[in-house]
């Protein structure tokens, strides 16, 4: 598999959010503002790349039968690391993301990549796959976060964009907006982007 294929796969053809529809809990929950979305994306990319590297290193010594518990321990270790770092250096963000930081452990994307890619490929390729899949996740959550923040609160990265006359549609920062917007985005992504690249 070529390097460009790994990236095309992670970002477009097998985009975890828009195509595979896995790991959506945090995407829906955290994307109410752009800042939260980007932080979450960085946390997920970090855990994904590091766990892919370690799992790939361990692939020859991991017994087949207990591989899933081993993967979970590796992933949980990195999640705890991220959690402690954020608690120490980014207290407000840690509060804002709340429960969704420890829940990176059960983000299906990470376990799926460990099982489908990292346990079968070299360390270098697994790291790249982690970056590609993480970017696919990051792009999805960033797009959703941008749209929700602009429409729902009339600001971007916390900066007000419109004058005082602007009435934000609060529905879009509330849970229903997240579901509806993600549904529309998936439909657009499928018809426009995936079709173009599969030709």
């Amino acid at each position: 598999m070529k390097i460009s294929d790994i990236f095309k796969n992670g970002i477009i053809k097998q985009n975890p959010i828009f195509v595979q529809l896995i790991g959506m809990c945090s995407v829906l929950a955290v994307s109410s503002s752009l800042k939260n979305s980007v932080t979450m994306a960085i946390a997920v990319i970090g855990v994904l790349v590091l766990s892919n590297i370690v799992i790939s290193m361990l692939r020859k010594v991991t017994p087949e039968k207990i591989r899933i518990p081993i993967f979970i321990v590796v992933i949980a270790t990195f999640v705890t690391l991220v959690e402690m770092l954020m608690k120490a250096f980014m207290q407000p963000m840690y509060q804002a993301l709340g429960i969704f930081i420890p829940l990176i452990v059960v983000n299906c994307i990470i376990l799926a990549r460990a099982e489908a890619f990292a346990s079968k490929n070299s360390v270098f390729k697994s790291a790249l796959d982690g970056v590609a899949m993480g970017l696919g996740y990051g792009i999805a959550i960033t797009i959703l976060g941008t749209i929700r923040e602009i429409i729902g609160s009339g600001s971007l990265w916390g900066i007000q964009l419109f004058g005082e006359g602007f009435q934000p549609a609060a529905l879009f920062v509330a849970p229903p907006g997240a579901f509806i917007l993600l549904g529309i985005l998936i439909a657009i992504f499928r018809t426009v982007v995936v079709k173009r690249f599969s030709e």
Binding site: L21, C25, A76, V106, F179
Partner: protein, 190 residues
């Protein structure tokens, strides 16, 4: 009184799927048929309640007495993963009928974020053991309610004529959004 409040809040007002976004993956994955939705609902309710009580005991007896609370995530996910395996084994041996009904859903539950999410939230809310059990049970009940409601909507959508770009998940997500608006109406209940 507090327990009744917790139950009403978890099932309706702060429904775990519609307002806290936990368990969206299985919610979208297995809500296409009524039969699978009820099976998954029963399995999740059983495991979540059991897992929350066990993790609560472990948190109090081991993590807090030894001052290693930072290991919470690792310990909890391991407990849940082994509990799921254990429940699967016990059911297989003791009750084949029940195993047939919920056996296939059990392995999926480890990565259902409701189980871990509720366990962590219960500790954060500083619930006692009774409240923990009530909170876990009602959270899973709310999840099952969402699953069953969604399944009945999706069975109707199967036969509807939809534009091809919206078929499947996009329309399901939009329907979930509309349902979430309906659930937001419960917020005045308490």
């Amino acid at each position: 009184m507090n327990i009744i409040n917790i139950i009403i809040a978890n099932v309706f007002i702060n429904n775990y799927v519609f307002s806290r976004f936990l368990g969206t993956c299985p919610f979208l994955g297995v809500s296409n048929k009524m039969e699978t939705a009820t099976g998954m609902g029963v399995a999740v309710t059983f495991v979540t309640t059991l897992a929350s009580v066990i993790t609560f005991i472990i948190q109090k007896l081991i993590l807090e007495t030894a001052h290693i609370e930072y290991l919470q995530t690792i310990v909890f996910i391991l407990v849940i993963a082994s509990l799921v395996q254990f429940v699967e084994l016990v059911l297989k041996k003791t009750s084949p009928a029940l195993y047939n009904a919920m056996g296939v859903y059990l392995p999926l539950i480890t990565t259902n974020c409701i189980v871990l999410g509720v366990a962590i939230l219960n500790i954060q809310e500083k619930y006692n053991i009774l409240e923990t059990a009530a909170s876990a049970f009602s959270a899973a009940l709310g999840f099952s309610l969402a699953l069953v409601l969604m399944a009945s909507v999706r069975e109707k959508l199967e036969i509807a004529e939809i534009h091809e770009s919206l078929e499947g998940f996009p329309l399901t997500l939009i329907a979930a959004g509309l349902m979430s608006i309906a659930f937001a109406g419960f917020s005045g209940l308490m």
